[in-house]
Symmetry: C2
């Protein structure tokens, strides 16, 4: 797959390679179990080199998490002018395709880490912005943001549970339920 042992890569490329390895490993295990040794071995590189590019393991993990978060946003919010049904459909499709790494990301994250929390919060906030923009609602209303944030959490939870066993319920029913829930939620807010 990769060439046998291309040594002395330019820094950007090396960095990309290492982050890419982390992303691939996310499909099999939570990020906290991605060890420096594993990545180095996979890249055919010494541990020391990884520390040359990422001062600390946590920094490396942050880079991988940021890359994963960027992927979510790029896939779900393709451009800024789509309706909620399209956004929801893309989000569900993403969860179907990448259920395991998404779970590994959400659950494998060292919790109290403020930077990780910030990345997650930012991703969540962008999703909320996307939904509010699609709805033509004011994105600066705290109550709205709280409610739509809760809705996104519900979408995530229902989506992941449904993706674990898609046969239990037709996809359209899930979509209808979630879209309806959002409608209802908005009716209840000024």
């Amino acid at each position: 797959m990769a060439t046998p042992a291309p040594r002395r890569l330019p820094p950007d490329e090396r960095r990309r390679q290492l982050v890419g390895i982390g992303l691939r490993m996310l499909t099999e295990r939570p990020i906290t179990e991605i060890t420096v040794d594993d990545v180095a071995r996979e890249a055919d590189i010494s541990r020391s080199l990884l520390f040359n590019y990422f001062p600390t393991k946590r920094d490396y993990h942050l880079a991988v998490i940021r890359a994963a978060a960027r992927r979510v946003r790029r896939v779900v919010l393709v451009d800024g002018d789509e309706g909620v049904p399209v956004i929801l459909d893309r989000f569900l499709a993403f969860l179907e395709r990448r259920r395991d790494p998404y779970l590994s990301l959400l659950r494998g994250v060292g919790g109290a880490d403020p930077e990780v929390a910030a990345i997650n919060a930012e991703t969540r906030a962008e999703l909320v912005d996307g939904v509010l923009h699609a709805l033509g609602r004011d994105p600066s209303t705290p109550a709205l943001r709280l409610a739509v944030g809760g809705w996104v959490a519900m979408v995530e939870d229902v989506g992941l549970a449904w993706a674990a066993d898609p046969a239990a319920m037709p996809r359209e029913d899930v979509v209808a339920l979630l879209l309806g829930a959002l409608d209802d939620l908005l009716v209840r807010l000024p």
Copy 2:
């Protein structure tokens, strides 16, 4: 606080002590950062002894997580005959009181660990059962469980976000929003 150095405790008591220390430590850091050394030091005990009671660090963590989950269930579902508003009120109160350890628990958990996932799923399932029982609805309908599960996720998310900054929205409004959302959700299901 604790007596200086009570040695040779009976096994049950020792186990309880160690789990208790873990629970207390959960208020300050995610469980993955609770180290064997820390616990042993806090208990004034050698590392070896902890491994006598819990064959592995993971086993110890599981014991702490189980204890925390039991606490959630006991506090939220006091007895089996309460309405949803009472359950919701207790859940929110719990999140207000124990926001940090709850976050540490949710986010600090090594994600792909199947046993941890099982404990979380069970706790979630019991909450869903409690809500469905309070509603007098059939707890064996997959669609219902999916939807109510999503609602619980929303309660968790909104509750935690609101607890982080209670001034942004009156508590009654949060309660009303969440109860209304549940009502709406049920209207949409057969």
